[in-house]
């Protein structure tokens, strides 16, 4: 780990238009999936991103790699703004940033052998100079992720979940990237196998000096592997801190609640744990609340500012170095000056913009998808 900055994201926004129309679709609103995120990742570190489902973690990760077009903002990767690259330069730049997906199987083309999966990226970047060196490289890759050499001729469906994820990791490694974005790398795996992948990721980082952005909704996993953690809520970062600092002294009410909500496999801890139960549900990202996005569920919500002024991510006096929080009242809450109160859950309006409702122009279309 160093202080050298590898990625610097500033004011990144990704808004997905919601289309709807009579004759021609027109945009009637946006899903504010990522809405103004600033974030810095240092070389060699693991940055963890947590948050509830739908808060924009994956979108952020993808926008970083330009797999989703950002609406605005910049993603400076090692000096170049990825958000502005085009065509062939973008394609070339992709070599240095790779992704690991949640669902190991669907991210592997079922018709490709492992060899072909691994060689494809190398070929795209001219790394497969000659047969011998390629073969050597393949052996290295397999060894690195702990798969037998005989795997090369096999197809993804012939592997177990954990092994498939290893193939996905090997594919990412094949092009010798600097940064790997891992989007829920273990959440689709059996409980007993998750640790294998987590350990592998850590090992690879040690050996290859990789930089990770690990996305998960599971704070325990994130805390385990990350150096620093960003907590997301409704498209923006609400808190960012070193892994331990975050656990020891969460400053944002949401972080507090999140931490307290996670069950620990230890009855002793569980029995004594004091939970902050949040009321209500996550509002729709298409219709985020004004002011602080969290104010609708916040037990520390104040009369002023919270529902009008959107708090920026800031450092707080007396907090751990590098800890930043987006709450107007962080200090007062920490110091116990403000007491939590009960929150009446608000109705979360679903309906037209509900992601559960398929958006189709006609039934015929719906049937096909």
């Amino acid at each position: 780990m160093s202080d050298e900055v590898l990625v610097e994201i500033s004011d990144l926004k990704v808004h997905f238009p919601i289309k709807h129309g009579v004759v021609f679709d027109r945009t009637i609103g946006h899903v504010y999936a990522v809405d103004g995120v600033d974030l810095t990742i240092h070389k060699g570190e693991t940055y963890g991103l947590v948050g509830e489902s739908g808060c924009g973690k994956s979108t952020l990760g993808r926008a970083m790699l330009r797999l989703t077009e950002p609406t605005s903002g910049s993603v400076v990767f090692d000096g170049t703004d990825v958000a502005k690259l085009k065509g062939e330069t973008l394609r070339k730049a992709r070599r240095r940033m790779q992704m690991i997906f949640q669902d190991p199987l669907s991210s592997l083309d079922p018709r490709q052998s492992v060899e072909s999966i691994l060689v494809e990226g190398m070929r795209a970047h001219g790394l497969d100079k000659d047969k011998e060196s390629t073969a050597k490289r393949l052996r290295e890759l397999l060894a690195a992720v702990g798969l037998p050499e005989s795997s090369l001729r096999k197809y993804p469906h012939e592997f177990s979940g954990g092994q498939r994820q290893r193939i996905g990791i090997a594919r990412a490694l094949a092009v010798e990237p600097d940064l790997i974005v891992a989007d829920e790398p273990v959440s689709a795996l059996d409980v007993s196998v998750q640790a294998q992948v987590v350990n592998l990721l850590e090992e690879l980082q040690d050996n290859l000096g990789l930089t990770y952005l690990v996305i998960a909704h599971d704070l325990a996993v994130v805390r385990h592997i990350s150096d620093r953690i960003g907590v997301m809520y409704l498209g923006s970062l609400v808190e960012e801190a070193d892994s331990d600092a975050l656990y020891e002294q969460p400053l944002h009410p949401y972080t507090k609640a999140l931490l307290s909500a996670i069950p620990v496999p230890d009855p002793v801890v569980e029995d004594s744990r004091e939970q902050i139960l949040l009321a209500g549900d996550l509002p729709s990202p298409a219709n985020p609340p004004n002011g602080c996005r969290f104010h609708t569920r916040c037990p520390w919500k104040q009369e002023t500012r919270c529902d009008t002024e959107r708090p920026a991510l800031r450092e707080v006096e007396g907090a751990a170095p590098g800890q930043r929080v987006a709450c107007h009242w962080a200090e007062d809450i920490r110091d116990g000056k403000i007491k939590p109160h009960e929150v009446k859950p608000e109705l979360v309006e679903t309906g037209a913009l509900n992601p559960d409702v398929p958006h189709v122009a006609s039934v015929v279309e719906a049937m096909e998808s």
């Binding site: 394609r91 992709r94 997906f101 949640q102 991210s107 079922p110 795209a124 996905g168 689709a188 409980v191």
Partner: protein, 309 residues
């Protein structure tokens, strides 16, 4: 570990089932156990053999007017079965059995070519729409909508009537046009699904070139349903061609031994005096169409991830 989304895991299983390579093998294995599939395969197999070797199998020249002298339509006489003519002759005194056998070849030709042409055009349209999305998709799909909004037989009739110089290909193309929108929509659907899929995203993030992604990843993975549909289309094409023949829009060479043509003519003219002339080709068409349908349906069933376990 908390919160393992088993829901998502189910999907993984499903995908494992539909994974390309295993998919084919599993499907074949499952089909080998299904009587429906076996019947379908046997019928289609026999039909294919028959079609290929028809000229060798036919006992007589299907175009020679052996018993023409004995045909007197004015008195309603078309000679029936007799020595050397086990099924009798048609209204030109030609051997019916030989014509039926050779007809398999023509029928197969019509069915296969119509399907292939429909498939080719449909795949180009659907493939472009699916690969590019956006306005290309919008424009192409509007076109397909239009084709869909004309009932299939009308579409075929229209195309058949359009031909300046009708020949066998007119029928084939007419029938092919009917399946174009079906193939186009099917391929587009699967391609679009592929577009957002993780493995395409993975290839993009690896920096694989766009056309390579389309051709190497998206297209091959979209083919399964298309192949199933093609098998089913073969059956409907044969029937559709017969309907065109019936409406007088069929093959303009009136003496060609083709089931649809034979059926169309006999159903109109000789149902009262010699119904066999209509029944034999009709039964042949029904059996073959059934064969392809059975095969296609069992293939669809076998490929359906829902039926796994």
């Amino acid at each position: 570990m908390t919160n393992l989304l088993t829901r998502k895991k189910d999907k993984v299983d499903e995908l494992a089932a539909s994974a390309g390579h295993s998919l084919a093998q599993q499907a074949i294995r499952r089909m080998a156990r299904s009587p429906v599939a076996i019947v379908g395969a046997v019928i289609t197999g026999l039909f294919l053999l028959l079609a290929i070797f028809a000229p060798l199998l036919a006992p007589k020249d299907p175009y020679e007017r052996y018993l023409q002298g004995e045909v007197v339509l004015g008195s309603g006489i078309i000679p029936g079965p007799r020595d050397g003519f086990p099924l009798g002759v048609d209204d030109f005194g030609r051997d019916l059995l030989s014509r039926l056998l050779v007809g398999a070849q023509q029928t197969l030709l019509v069915g296969v070519m119509a399907t292939l042409i429909g498939l080719a055009i449909g795949m180009v349209i659907g493939g472009l729409a699916g690969a590019f999305g956006g306005w290309v998709d919008t424009v192409l799909m509007r076109l397909v909508d239009v084709m869909l909004s004309i009932p299939s037989l009308l579409l075929a009739i229209s195309v058949a009537a359009l031909a300046a110089k009708p020949n066998q290909w007119t029928v084939i193309i007419a029938v092919a046009m009917v399946s174009v929108p079906i193939f186009a929509r099917l391929l587009r659907g699967t391609m679009l699904a592929q577009r957002g899929s993780d493995h395409v995203l993975a290839a993009t993030s690896l920096g694989v070139k766009r056309h390579t992604i389309v051709l190497r990843h998206m297209l091959p993975n979209s083919l399964g349903p298309v192949i199933v549909q093609a098998t089913l289309t073969l059956a409907t094409s044969i029937i559709e061609a017969a309907a065109l023949s019936f409406l007088g829009l069929g093959d303009p060479d009136p003496s060609r031994a083709e089931w649809g043509l034979m059926l169309g003519k006999a159903a109109k003219q000789f149902l009262d005096i010699r119904p066999e002339l209509a029944f034999y080709p009709a039964i042949a068409i029904i059996i073959v169409a059934l064969g392809f349908t059975l095969l296609g349906e069992s293939m669809r069933e076998a490929l359906d991830p829902k039926n796994r376990r």
